[in-house]
């Protein structure tokens, strides 16, 4: 019958036309892409899947470490002290040494003031998402790098030993009992943690972090993807009262 002819004809045609139309039609309703959905990192810790990952990684970590380390600062408290940093860069014949003072508030603020051999002042404010070097914002190219803010958050979390934040990004392993220097009975409070990134994306920047400390953080060793090594030692670390002021505004004791 004529319509069966037509029907197959139309059918073939439609399917072929569908090919051309495919891409273009889809976009037609695409005008309202869901923007709320994209977050690069975000601290959406109430998210179920993160919670499950969290609990899993917590379980895999030695339970002793999390109970022994009580580095969370009290409210209205900040840490300050001196640091010495040694950075070995690939292609650089000798390590770059620098030293200065730092001030840090729990999980959201870091002031890194290099005094020698150059003068440079870096400020990271995780809450506000700002990253200032000598009062200037990081240049545009670096800001486009979506990881920058996350890296800032991670650095602050590292220096304050904020395990909760770190566990979102890293697999934590305690080496407290394996390291021979930590076995002395007087040093029961010391700890040594090895952090490896969970995500491929973070691995692009950080390969592995070793941190060690007693009451507060004492040593950080950071390996990046180019196998550059950054070692930081902290001295005279002590908490200061901020009394609700911004940590940057507190006078030095």
């Amino acid at each position: 019958m004529r319509f069966s002819l037509v029907f197959t004809g139309v059918l073939k045609c439609l399917i072929l036309v569908a090919g051309v139309v495919w891409v273009s039609t889809l976009y037609a309703d695409d005008a309202e892409p869901d923007q709320s959905g994209h977050t690069f990192s975000g601290a959406s810790s109430n998210d179920a899947s993160i919670q499950s990952t969290l609990s899993q990684s917590a379980a895999s970590t030695s339970s002793a470490t999390t109970t022994n380390i009580q580095t969370f600062l009290k409210k209205n408290e900040a840490l300050q002290g001196r640091f010495e940093q040694t950075k070995s860069l690939s292609g650089m014949p000798f390590p770059l040494k620098s030293s200065g003072v730092f001030r840090i508030a729990n999980a959201n603020y870091l002031l890194w003031d290099i005094k020698t051999p150059i003068q440079s002042r870096m400020e990271i404010n995780v809450e506000m998402g700002t990253f200032l070097v000598d009062g200037k914002k990081m240049d545009a190219a670096a800001e486009q790098n979506a990881a920058t803010n996350v890296i800032g958050e991670i650095i602050v979390a590292l220096f304050t030993s904020d395990w909760e934040t770190l566990q979102q990004y890293f697999v934590l392993q305690s080496e407290a009992n394996t390291a021979p220097e930590n076995t002395a009975p007087t040093e029961t409070g010391t700890w040594h943690m090895v952090l490896t990134p969970k995500s491929e994306a973070l691995l692009q920047v950080i390969q592995r972090v070793d941190i060690a400390g007693e009451r507060f953080i004492e040593k950080v060793k950071l390996l990046d993807q180019q196998s550059d090594v950054t070692q930081i030692e902290f001295f005279d670390v002590q908490p200061i009262r901020t009394d609700g002021q911004h940590p940057a505004a507190v006078e030095k004791p």
Partner: protein, 847 residues
């Protein structure tokens, strides 16, 4: 008219033989072209529907290249986020990899995408001294200008702000506790210029987008769910074939365990749309199609009580389609599938001739008398339809011209078959079939029904009133008729599939909207410089938010001249130009003079060894003659956002050119973009393509052209009918004109917009409607003619009108016009002619 009848009667035998020969020739031709020869004579490219002068050279080649890469890929987003999901994901990928070879698949995951990105960056790093971003170029020029030896002479050791800015920044980075992603070591890229260049160029390439830093592996994050990307590429035809069926079955089997929980799996790919479209069409064919087929068969058998008319009708229509196809193959190089589909439906009008013949045969018993009686009617029917459909030949659109040829030849062939062959076939030996059942003593079902209907005055009056009401309403709302040429008309996919596809694109950051620029030139360098000009303008537009992103190959590969300039600039500003030893001047002096470069300043600040600096310089000097060419990175571009942008050397019938595509995302206004090549003075080398608006415009043009030409053709037909019938032409025209107007009104009332396919529906309506009028007029509304037009109306309603139940927009638009149109036209014709024959009877009986 009588002469034609006489002629036909006299030479029927000879003419029939001739006609048989023609049919045989047509069969041979079609068989030869379609079965024996390997050349594909069917066209499905929608671009070919454009008039030739509207096409861009090369566009078709580019089109096929780009759509091929699009159509033969599948994107899967597999949910991860827990160990259970993680296992499922690995199983999924593993199963795919296991059978990769069997289905000729290329499987890649986001980890692979990252790997190929790294490879690409590695290749590019060899040419790092030739690559600078615009900002870097500006910064280095600042240094270079002040740092030139003659200026140093005046300024002495004055602080150079540009140099200090660069060096301060570099030192801050070197001493920062924050790890920064560097592509190369300090000795290869001391100022991290290449690292910055990579961030700048690849910032929006999707590798970093929506990537969740917290999850294991490369993961996309969306609304609290985590997904991992699996990307399949396959070869072969997306739209048909056994292999595709097997592939889909295999994929479905893979998908099923992932679908079980929640979101699980998201997918995107043309192949799914094609399969869904086909499944829907099949479903509708088996419901609507089967239903209408059954109805038509029943109708035939109840009316004629024999299979012979059915078989012969089918044969006649097949002959029509065959001859039409043969002629199209003869006259056109390639036959478009659109032509076939709609041409075949227009040939549907010719079924009227068969009905008319069989009904007359039933009435007059002799085939000879029957054919002689109806020849004038079907002659005029043929002429009017041929005029109406043939007029489309006058348009410049190849699709319409092919359709015109196809339907005209088809109609003519069916007509010839009915007039020449059917009387012979039925008179010779086939008479014993119970075809002659039209006598009063053996009333068949359908005619009885008509006689009953004709006597019910009440029903008649009711129908008159309702028809007039509909008509009045229709005329009142005439102005509300809307037109719609939206591309979505052509979409056959179910909504859920489209939504899923959109979601995948949102998550993976692929917001391509089918718009792009094509740039072409006679060699690669001209191509790159033309593209560069275009991209500079696009960058400005992006900052003005006229578009969200664009991808062009010249972002990665500058022209040879630019590369040289960039190298020299770095030499001047960073590494320090060294005078060649063979020059007459003393080398040591000129080296010292030139040595105010950023590198030496940095070395002083960091107290680096001279040997370190010397090494860095040597690497730089050694790279002096390296030049990055498009072909160097061709392999590494796979899986990156820059894949399929450079299309290489392309050829069409007249042109050979190097071609590249600039892909656009998030376009706000096509207007600005389409004028861009002209404004930049590169309209010879570049043009803008917007597929969405292109297809919509094409549909609109076809619709307008068809309406215009059809109106013109029908005015001619009306003229012709007036000449033949005089005042009675009103009787012939009234039903179909009133019917069409009512349908237009109905569409306006129900706010169903008109499109190209409803216009095609109107064409069919006018063809069938005119036949109704002509047959009834020619036979003075005798019973057999009424039966013929009724059968033809009912079959048309069943065959095409029921398409209004279809979910497919194109079929729906077609059916929604034909269904009420044919019903109203038939009703009006029946009322008009039976009213007249009543009055005739009255006058005949009266005196």
């Amino acid at each position: 008219m009588n002469k034609i009848v006489q002629c036909l009667e006299q030479f029927r035998g000879g003419l029939a033989c001739l006609w048989l020969l023609v049919i045989l020739a047509a069969i041979t031709l079609v068989v030869n072209h379609l079965i024996i020869s390997d050349v594909d004579r069917f066209e499905s490219n929608i671009l070919r529907l454009l008039p030739e002068e509207h096409r861009f050279p090369l566009q078709e080649v580019v089109e096929s290249k780009t759509s091929e890469t699009l159509s033969n890929s599948i994107l899967y987003l597999v949910e991860v986020g827990s160990d259970e999901y993680e296992t499922r994901y690995s199983e999924f990928v593993q199963k795919l990899l296991d059978r990769q070879r069997e289905f000729d698949l290329t499987v890649s995951t986001s980890v692979d995408a990252r790997k190929s990105h790294d490879l690409l960056v590695q290749t590019l790093s060899e040419y790092r001294y030739n690559l600078l971003t615009n900002a870097q170029e500006k910064q280095l020029k600042g240094i270079g200008l002040i740092g030139r030896p003659q200026d140093v002479g005046h300024s002495g050791s004055m602080p150079n702000n540009a140099i200090n800015g660069l060096i301060d920044h570099t030192i801050q980075d070197l001493f920062s506790p924050v790890p920064l992603k560097r592509e190369l070591g300090f000795n290869e890229d001391p100022f991290a210029l290449f690292s910055q260049w990579v961030i700048n160029r690849f910032a929006s390439d999707g590798v970093g987008e929506n990537l969740a830093l917290k999850q294991k592996g490369m993961t996309y994050q969306f609304e609290g769910h985590y997904y991992r990307l699996v990307w399949l590429k396959f070869t072969g035809d997306v739209f048909s074939g056994e292999r595709r069926k097997q592939l889909l079955a295999f994929l479905q089997e893979l998908e099923s365990p992932l679908h079980m929980t929640g979101q699980g799996l998201l997918r995107a790919g043309l192949v799914f749309h094609a399969a869904a479209g086909e499944a829907q069409a099949r479903r509708e064919m088996s419901t609507i199609g089967f239903g209408s087929l059954l109805a038509v068969l029943l109708l035939f058998i109840l009316t004629y009580r024999s299979f012979v008319p059915l078989v012969l009708t089918l044969l006649a229509i097949s002959v029509g389609c065959l001859c039409a196809l043969a002629f199209c193959l003869l006259l056109f190089e390639r036959v478009h599938l659109v032509t076939l589909a709609f041409g075949a439906s227009l040939i549907g009008v010719s079924v009227d001739y068969c009905f008319h013949f069989f009904s007359a045969r039933q009435r007059y018993i002799s085939s000879k008398i029957a054919i002689n009686r109806i020849t004038p009617a079907i002659c005029i029917g043929l002429v009017s339809s041929v005029l109406a459909y043939g007029a489309q030949w006058l348009t410049p659109f190849p699709g319409l011209r092919q359709m015109a040829l196809f339907s005209v030849v088809g109609l003519l062939a069916v007509w010839l078959t009915v007039v020449l062959l059917l009387p012979l076939v039925l008179s010779k030996g086939l008479g014993q079939f119970r075809l002659a059942s039209g006598r009063e003593d053996t009333p068949s079902l359908i005619p009885t029904f008509f006689r009953l209907l004709a006597n019910r005055d009440l029903a008649k009056n009711l129908m008159v009133i309702s028809t007039i009401t509909v008509f009045c309403l229709a005329v009142l709302t005439f102005k509300d008729i809307q037109f719609e040429d939206d591309i979505r008309l052509l979409n056959t996919s179910p909504k859920s599939l489209i939504q899923q596809e959109q979601k995948v694109r949102t998550i993976t950051g692929n917001r391509s909207t089918g718009q792009y620029f094509v740039v072409h030139a006679e060699d690669q360098q001209n191509l790159l410089s033309a593209e560069k000009a275009l991209c500079t303008a696009l960058d400005q537009l992006r900052q003005d938010e006229a578009l969200s992103a664009f991808y062009c190959i010249s972002a990665l590969v500058p022209t040879v001249q630019e590369q040289r300039d960039n190298y020299l600039l770095q030499q001047l500003a960073i590494y320090g130009a060294r005078t060649k030893p063979n020059k007459n001047e003393s080398t040591s002096i000129s080296e010292e003079l030139n040595d105010v470069s950023a590198l030496s300043v940095l070395s002083d600040r960091l107290e680096l060894d001279a040997s370190v600096i010397e090494n860095i310089r040597q690497t730089f000097d050694a790279a002096e003659h390296t030049v990055l060419a498009l072909d160097d990175i061709a392999v590494d571009l796979k899986n990156s956002a820059f894949d399929n942008l450079y299309l290489g050397k392309l050829q069409d019938s007249e042109h050979t050119a190097f071609v590249s595509v600039v892909r656009l995302e998030g376009v706000q206004s096509s207007n600005i973009l389409s004028q861009l090549p002209q404004q930049l003075g590169i309209q010879q080398q570049s043009f803008y393509v917007d597929k969405v608006s292109f297809i919509s415009t094409l549909l609109k043009k076809y619709r307008q052209e068809m309406i215009f030409v059809a109106t013109f053709a029908y005015l001619m037909v009306i003229g012709m009918l007036c000449v033949r019938y005089g005042m009675n032409a009103f009787m012939v025209l009234a039903p179909v004109v009133l019917g069409s107007v009512s349908v237009l009104g109905l569409m306006a009332i129900l706010s169903i917009p008109l499109n190209l396919f409803s216009v095609l529906g109107f064409m069919l309506l006018l063809g069938v409607g005119l036949d109704i009028g002509i047959f009834l007029q020619e036979s003075h509304a005798q019973g057999h003619a009424l039966q013929a037009v009724t059968l033809s109306s009912i079959t048309t309603v069943f065959a095409f009108g029921l398409l209004s139940l279809s979910q497919t927009p194109v079929l729906y638009s077609f059916g929604i016009v034909v269904l009420p149109g044919i019903l109203i036209t038939w009703l009006l014709a029946w009322l008009l002619f039976s009213a007249r024959s009543d009055s005739h009877d009255a006058t005949a009986v009266g005196p």
